[in-house]
Symmetry: C2
Subunit: 261 residues, 2 copies
Amino acid sequence: MDFMKPETVLDLNNIRQALQRMEDTIIFYFIERSQFFTCPSVYKKDVFPIPKFDGSFLDWLLSQHEKIQSQVRRYQAPDEYPFFPEIVQPSFLPKVNYPPVLASYADEININKNVLKVYVDNMVPGISSGSGDQMENLGSAAMADIDALQSLSRRIHFGMFVAEAKFRNETEKFTKLIKNKDIKGIDKAITNTAVEEKILKRLLEKAKTYGVDPTLKFTQHIQNKVKPEVVVKIYKDYVIPLTKKVEIDYLMRRLEDEETT
Amino acid sequence: MDFMKPETVLDLNNIRQALQRMEDTIIFYFIERSQFFTCPSVYKKDVFPIPKFDGSFLDWLLSQHEKIQSQVRRYQAPDEYPFFPEIVQPSFLPKVNYPPVLASYADEININKNVLKVYVDNMVPGISSGSGDQMENLGSAAMADIDALQSLSRRIHFGMFVAEAKFRNETEKFTKLIKNKDIKGIDKAITNTAVEEKILKRLLEKAKTYGVDPTLKFTQHIQNKVKPEVVVKIYKDYVIPLTKKVEIDYLMRRLEDEETT
């Protein structure tokens, strides 16, 4: 997949390959996060007074990282969406002239607020190695959170490429569903249960393989990393449904663009 | 290992376990970096004019990240050393009162300039998936560099804990070597060839295991990630020797502390 060549981006095989590669990244960041406790103080407002900032420790750290990274064009890339769009800065690098692939409103579809909430409420407890704060590890835990969140966000917003490819493959069918505001019908049209089951099976294998030092496999000293079934559950309950939400949000507006172009 | 409990930090078994766990992190960041080309523009000065900054694109991005992360106490931790010490900021978080484990001059031992040089000159060419710039991936390559560099730096500076533990176990022997400024003798005393060979064997297994999607293992479509023998060579030629350099630098000053306490 090459974002400079739109035809490669809208090839469903390439999209699936990219999503498959992202699984490795996401699992690995979960494994990194699993070194720490839940660290609830990271996610609560006002535990630590932060100068000139209203939000949690993680909000501060994540927004500061986005501020830096926006200056090297992170959020100009068609597959990156910020958690704090209001903090995005201009870049000192020359602009990359990405050829348009998605509809013009794509940048307005950003469900990172959901991603953040679901991550903190539902993923962190399953991934962490214990409950409670470890005061000297708050920064490390939050740094691992940022990596995990950014990779989850990318995966979930990739749904727009899936949606655009599907729309172009079956334009007539989707046009009808969208005109009828048939969300259930769209949901059905974008769901491929066999593919989803294959993803979950693959995740189980990957999490088992990447989560254990291979040279310790046959000894008693297996390291405690993230539980493979937790990774599967996170994908089943949150990653896949949120990706579909992005697909549906994107498709519901897809005729706006047809009207204007 | 718990930095609040010095006896756990100076236990050589705990140190080895921590170093072993870091291998997974380092290999994984290499795998992430292997998605991109060498991208030489990232490492050269003056390719892109950066406002109010004299250095490469990577220098800018890394120093900005350190500036943020220092504010959440990253460089107060005894196992973290900045690449740009001059940019470190005070933290708004309460100070963690780490009990002293290392000698008082430990913060002055920082070989990150070497780490950065060796990484750019000798590691990036081996890890990257191709030669040359990919203009739209410079930011992504540099972000992967930062993760790899920070994990390498932590691993290499961990040599100080190794050195301190060895000094305490064999104080008399090391005192004599240090007094005689016998660098060769110290090098010999801290070298355990059997352990080093075990590390390299384990790295080969890990890089093979983590670098391939396990569900594709028996098909033709194996993804091209980082070459296992490259990871082994990097450890053999750079990571292990640089860790030893840290150990020696630390030990050579070790009697200063004895005199003052």
